[in-house]
């Protein structure tokens, strides 16, 4: 395969995809600025390098390295947002947002409502997480359900580089506060680069693969896992449709329900622990809307209900795998 081939898209990884989206947004509107620990080039452009090059290009006033002070980081973003800016705050790892939940839940999410619509909070909180790298219990959690349960927040979770580029751009120009969750393992997976300027609207899911027998609903890294499971199932004669939610909140229920109305079977998969996770909401809504159409109850796949373990075999056992996905599908096939 020739990378220069005119018909093949250039390959990039998700780090590059997000970097592209950020750069395009900063180019488009000088009210967009970034802040977070080590985000400027002097400090290396972020611990994963997502913001690399941006302070050199746009200046350190718009790419601001901060002290280790997540309440101040998110708070400063909230304040700048209500004053007309579009801040993008990086919280290095998702578990660290726990020290700033007041700023998110009580302020970012509510200031529009509590002010009667006078102050909106168009900020993005970018954060990375995900198990599989031996980071242990305090660096790997998936907390998207918390934010999805918070009225006033949007939650976006890209499944690949082009998705990430288009979604971060839309998140920045969305007038509501967005938590943008980046799965660390996906950072290093290559995919097609987006067309320059390609945008992906928030709140709209994508059919990642068409199928007729069962619907797999996923987001983030689970999309790829579901696509892999769909391949296996295809060999067994089962045609699986895979939905990439892109936006976890608000949910694109019409797309989900259309698909399940057709397939009459559904599995929801995510990396977050299963109990009280996002899958529960989706499963409940599918049952509520399509109860008599369903051939089987909706199945949920998620990680074990436990802290993320360090030891490699335990960590591997912690997260759901292909076996669990296929089992869940088979349960719906009855």
């Amino acid at each position: 395969m020739n990378a220069e081939s005119p018909v093949k898209a250039k390959k990039i990884n998700m780090l590059q995809g997000i970097n592209m989206g950020l750069a395009e947004a900063m180019e488009a509107d000088e009210k967009v600025f970034l802040l977070g620990e080590d985000v400027a080039d002097k400090q290396g452009g972020g611990v994963f390098g997502v913001t690399r090059g941006l302070s050199s290009r746009f200046g350190e006033s718009r790419v601001r390295s901060t002290p280790i002070a997540e309440q101040a980081i998110v708070g400063a973003a909230v304040g700048a947002a209500i004053a007309g800016y579009r801040p993008v705050a990086e919280i290095m790892l998702m578990n660290f947002i726990t020290v700033a939940m007041d700023m998110v839940t009580n302020h970012a999410a509510k200031l529009r409502f509590m002010s009667g619509g006078q102050t909106n909070v168009p900020l993005v909180i970018r954060t990375a997480t995900g198990s599989g790298f031996g980071n242990g219990g305090q660096h790997s959690d998936m907390l998207e359900a918390w934010f999805a349960h918070t009225a006033g927040m949007k939650v976006v979770m890209p499944s690949g580089p082009a998705e990430a580029a288009g979604l971060i751009y839309s998140s920045i120009f969305d007038d509501d506060p967005v938590v943008f969750i980046e799965t660390i393992p996906l950072y290093y997976v290559n995919g097609d680069a987006p067309e320059p300027g390609a945008r992906i609207p928030l709140g709209k899911a994508r059919i990642a693969r068409e199928g007729t027998d069962v619907t797999l609903v996923a987001y983030g890294r689970a999309v790829n896992d579901c696509l892999m499971a769909a391949e296996t199932l295809a060999k067994e004669g089962v045609s699986a449709e895979v939905i990439d939610l892109r936006t976890v909140a608000p949910l694109d229920m019409p797309t989900i329900l259309n698909s399940v109305a057709k397939t009459r079977r559904a599995v929801v998969a995510h990396e977050a622990v299963k109990p009280f996770g996002v899958g529960a909401e989706i499963s409940s809504q599918i049952h509520e809307e399509l109860f008599s159409d369903l051939k089987a109850s909706v199945q949920r796949v998620g990680s074990n209900f436990q802290p993320v373990p360090f030891s490699k075999p335990l960590e591997t056992d912690f997260i759901y795998g292909q076996a669990q996905l296929l089992d869940a599908v088979r349960k719906t096939l009855g």
């Binding site: 101040a72 708070g75 400063a76 304040g79 947002a81 004053a83 800016y85 009667g116 006078q118 102050t119």
Partner: protein
């Protein structure tokens, strides 16, 4: 009204007094209205703390930003929020500052720069750094004032905010209204430092302790802090010593405050004292002050009536302003 002189003239003092009188009378009316059963709210009286925002306001423009707290009605009045809109919000009416959706603890009124009123202790400060950052980046020349209590100086958000503001030299003034108590806890039982202002040393910023009940001292201290912020020289921690006459919230019997402490504080009620000072030291005719007080009373009458007469918001408001797009 931005001023640069280093002593307030009588016109300045009269404006300060006007704000103080507004705050005091408004508070009295609020308590009476609640006690009369016409308003069912939880009320955090600012009585005793009138001087602080009244003096600071002299150095602020309408578009300077203010962040304040549940005990913030004095700050809001001094910043210029119309009494009608305030009362209507307190009453949960659609004509309120926030269409009744925020309520007393969440007054927002961008026209007068009131950007956030928060009910979470300490949480205004991080947001204030962001407002100040916006001003610094845009060069709009605005200053941000963020008010908080003595108790709030013990929470993490205080620390993070002052450090960030100092590192970035943000145009913000941290105004600690030290009224000696946090809910029912005496200052000394929660706070391991003699003066809150001493904590400025942790952030390489000026820390100033001022008698928050002395209008002239307050005027001077605020002038310096605001000027410093406006000149791009960075933040100040301004600790204003004061007292809370009515306890934490209406109904609080202040059982935890020694009787002598309360009596001594009430004796130094800053509003009548300053009124007398204007008469004695500045030769302001008592009649002028009577007139001014009476005008305020009328304004409050109108505000109360306006609030009581206004309609409640339509239930559709429960679907609006959650996200930019109206909820289904």
């Amino acid at each position: 009204m931005v001023t640069g002189s280093n002593a307030p003239d009588v016109a300045t003092l009269m404006r300060i007094y006007r704000r103080m009188s507004s705050i005091k009378q408004n508070d009295e009316r609020m308590r009476a209205t609640i006690r009369a059963g016409k308003l069912a709210i939880i009320y955090y009286s600012p009585r005793g703390q009138e001087v602080i925002p009244s003096a600071i306001a002299e150095h602020l423009n309408d578009d300077d930003y203010l962040v304040t707290i549940y005990r913030g009605i004095h700050d809001q009045i001094a910043k210029g929020v119309p009494l009608k809109s305030l009362w209507a919000e307190y009453a949960g009416k659609v004509t309120g500052t926030c269409k009744g959706k925020g309520g007393p603890m969440h007054i927002t009124h961008p026209e007068t720069g009131v950007m956030v009123t928060t009910g979470v202790v300490g949480s205004g400060m991080p947001i204030a750094t962001g407002l100040a950052l916006a001003s610094q980046m845009s060069g709009d020349g605005r200053v941000t004032i963020t008010n908080f209590g003595d108790g709030a100086s013990n929470i993490g958000a205080f620390h993070e905010s002052l450090n960030l503001a100092s590192i970035w030299k943000l145009p913000v003034v941290f105004v600690c209204q030290n009224n000696g108590y946090a809910e029912h806890t005496h200052y000394s039982e929660g706070t391991a430092v003699e003066n809150i202002a001493d904590r400025a040393a942790s952030y390489n910023m000026p820390g100033v302790t001022v008698d928050g009940n002395d209008p002239v001292a307050m005027w001077k201290a605020a002038q310096e802090a605001v000027a410093r912020a406006r000149a791009g020289e960075g933040p100040t921690l301004l600790e204003c010593k004061t007292f809370r006459f009515m306890g934490h919230l209406l109904g609080d019997d202040s059982h935890y405050i020694p009787k002598e402490e309360m009596a001594a504080a009430l004796e130094k009620d800053p509003v009548p004292l300053f009124r007398q000072k204007l008469i004695d030291d500045w030769q302001v005719p008592a009649a002028d002050l009577d007139k001014l007080d009476a005008d305020i009373a009328t304004e409050i009458d109108e505000a109360v009536q306006f609030a009581l007469d206004s309609a409640y918001p339509d239930l559709v408001e429960n679907k609006r302003d959650i996200l930019a797009e109206e909820m289904a």
